[in-house]
């Protein structure tokens, strides 16, 4: 390696001989600014106009804190559940050939396509104390609809395709020979899964988790039907924003939104860093 002269300073790494770097980067930045950055900075701007003491008072309001806790907590649990079962679904779809596989494969995408309100209403009908599933769960002391558990159920439904669709292609690329190599070295089936397969799927699983989680935090349509929306119990932050808006309490709405934004950004950033780190290691 040769050392660059000290006065050269920091420079872009030469991207490639094919032209277009300047143009595409310029376009991407302009586009992201227009679509994401301007609306979001509007939000920051509005909440900044509040002043620090007002903002803090609104942010630490007990109802707000509880709503944020419910939103992030249920989204986290739902994403975790999806990681387990989404990976399993992907495994079945990739590894086995059975009649109706294509139908099952297509079904995974339904939560993407379905209007979320429809999903919410359908789930509520099923899990309400009088619904098909709710009726069966009631005697066990499990109340799903109108509780945080109901929110988790809705978010699991919404988030499933994110995990399946990110893990599936990576799983398809897994080299069969790597498993065979592990077997010849004496590893049991269980050891092969935990020590060889899952670690190589980890980056994809983390991506799936973060997508499902982000979607869960922002989900509104399906949740409000099943949650029951009791303040302090099953009221999610996006709903609280809508409530504040309907009260014409714009400062409170923007404050909650700004906090959600900051939290989401921080968490996604951390997940991204974990990703980069694992990519660097495993190539």
């Amino acid at each position: 390696m040769t050392l660059a002269p000290a006065h050269a300073g920091w420079r872009f790494r030469q991207p490639s001989v094919i032209p277009g770097f300047g143009l595409t980067l310029g376009f991407s930045l302009a586009y992201l600014t227009l679509i994401i950055l301007i609306p979001l900075s509007g939000l920051i701007w509005r909440s900044a106009a509040l002043g620090w003491t007002d903002f803090w008072a609104l942010a630490t309001d007990r109802r707000t804190l509880k709503a944020l806790e419910i939103s992030f907590g249920t989204a986290f649990i739902a994403a975790a559940v999806n990681v387990v079962f989404g990976t399993l679904v992907a495994w079945v779809l990739v590894r086995y050939r059975f009649p109706g596989r294509r139908v099952v494969d297509a079904m995974v995408d339904l939560p993407f396509a379905l209007p979320t309100a429809v999903a919410g209403i359908a789930l509520t009908t099923l899990y309400a104390p009088t619904g098909w599933l709710g009726k069966l769960l009631m005697p066990l002391g499990l109340k799903v609809a109108y509780t945080p558990l109901g929110i988790v159920v809705a978010l699991v439904f919404i988030g499933l395709p994110f995990v399946v669709r990110t893990v599936q292609p990576i799983m398809e690329e897994l080299d069969k020979e790597v498993e065979e190599a592990a077997a010849t070295l004496g590893a049991s089936r269980f050891q092969i899964i935990t020590r060889v397969l899952l670690p190589s799927l980890a980056p994809a699983i983390i991506t799936g988790f973060s997508l499902a989680f982000a979607r869960g935090v922002g989900e509104y349509g399906s949740v409000i039907f099943i949650a029951g929306n009791l303040p302090y119990k099953s009221e999610i932050a996006p709903l609280l924003i809508v409530i504040r808006l309907e009260e014409y309490n714009y400062p409170a709405a923007t404050a909650i939104a700004a906090i959600m934004l900051a939290l989401s950004f921080a968490m996604l950033l951390v997940i991204n860093l974990v990703q980069t780190w694992s990519r660097k290691r495993y190539g």
């Binding site: 080299d175 020979e177 790597v178 065979e180 190599a181 592990a182 077997a183 010849t184 070295l185 004496g186 590893a187 049991s188 050891q191 020590r195 060889v196 670690p199 190589s200 980890a202 290691r281 495993y282 190539g283």
Partner: protein, 346 residues
């Protein structure tokens, strides 16, 4: 460890990949399975490893019937063409994997595993790279790590599936010599698959030539090259030329002329004559010889390859001449094979 393959047949969804194959491998031997693609050589190797189960027949490791054992229990070292390293593990962890997954008392202590890994890394001449990940290694280095990983479990047999197939020619030659050295030093019974005859002939104690799911011939490099036992082996190994001939009263004829070759034990009738293009005597006059008009002449490295058209049927054969031989300038060349073999037309 001695390995015996006894009457093994393997079908993939009714399609036979191996027909009734038997093979004895002596302890400490280095064996090459050589054949064109689709000849069943990789299937045979995978059967020995336990990665496939035979449809019929059995495989013995020593006196034990290994066909009843799972892959994990067989204790074989397998090296794949595309290395199949664990990319999320360092080189040292890759090599130690086979020891780490053992249970209870069979598992060495972490320190011992590490010591073994470093020792093997030294054997494959990659000392100092133990902290690298496979993505940071070259193809040749990866294949060495794969070999070290396979040897870490002290396998009964070492099996290599086209181990150098994905590497460039230079690295290939180097690794070939190096594999021979390692084999001589460690003495593992080793079987490797290749479609490269040079690799097989140069490296192996004995070569198993396979074609269409059958073993054609087993022998040393000399046996295989000098006394091929079938038209397939004759044409697959080295250069060869062939001509349709007729045998009558122990003499070989082309069309209506005897060519001066005696075959007292060959049955009369149609046959095919095989010979090596470089193994011929050039003749001046032609009383009992093969003569043909020069159709093409090419310079290949140290020799000149001349293509001749023989007889009214214009059968083409190739012979090799020294570069400066005057015959190359002539329009008609007469020759007689020095060593040759007849195979009756099936």
């Amino acid at each position: 460890m001695e390995v015996r393959v006894v009457n093994v047949r393997k079908e993939f969804e009714r399609f036979p990949a191996l027909h009734d194959v038997s093979l004895d491998i002596k302890s400490g031997e280095l064996i090459a399975l050589l054949g064109p693609s689709g000849s069943g050589k990789t299937t045979l190797l995978r059967l020995i490893a336990g990665l496939e189960r035979p449809t019929k027949g059995a495989i013995f490791f020593g006196e034990e019937d290994a066909s009843q054992k799972s892959i994990q229990e067989r204790n074989v070292g397998f090296v794949f063409q595309h290395y199949a390293l664990f990319r999320h593990m360092t080189v040292a962890d890759n090599i130690g994997f086979g020891l780490k997954v053992r249970h209870g008392a069979a598992r060495p202590r972490a320190q011992e595993i590490r010591r073994r890994a470093l020792e093997l890394l030294d054997l494959v001449q990659l000392s100092g790279l133990e902290k690298r990940y496979p993505a940071q290694l070259s193809g040749g280095q990866r294949q060495r790590v794969a070999l070290a990983r396979a040897m870490a479990i002290e396998p009964k047999v070492l099996l290599l599936d086209e181990p150098f197939g994905a590497l460039d020619a230079q690295v290939r030659r180097e690794l070939r010599r190096w594999l021979r050295e390692i084999h001589d030093r460690t003495g593992h019974t080793t079987v490797f698959v290749t479609h490269d005859q040079e690799e097989a002939l140069e490296l192996a104690d004995r070569v198993v030539v396979m074609s269409q799911g059958r073993i054609e011939q087993v022998g040393t490099a000399d046996d295989i090259y000098d006394t091929p036992n079938s038209p397939f082996v004759y044409s697959f190994i080295g250069e060869s030329s062939s001509l349709p001939v007729k045998v009558e009263n122990g003499e070989v004829w082309i069309a209506d002329r005897p060519i001066g070759l005696q075959a007292p034990h060959a049955p009369s009738g149609e046959a095919v004559l095989y010979f090596r293009p470089h193994d011929v005597d050039l003749l001046d006059g032609c009383s009992g010889c093969i003569a043909g008009t020069v159709a093409a002449s090419r310079r290949v490295a140290g020799t000149r390859r001349v293509e001749l058209e023989i007889g009214g049927e214009r059968q083409r054969v190739e012979i090799e001449l020294p570069v400066d031989h005057p015959a190359a300038q002539k329009s008609r060349v007469a020759f007689r094979p020095r060593r040759w073999k007849l195979f009756p037309v099936a």
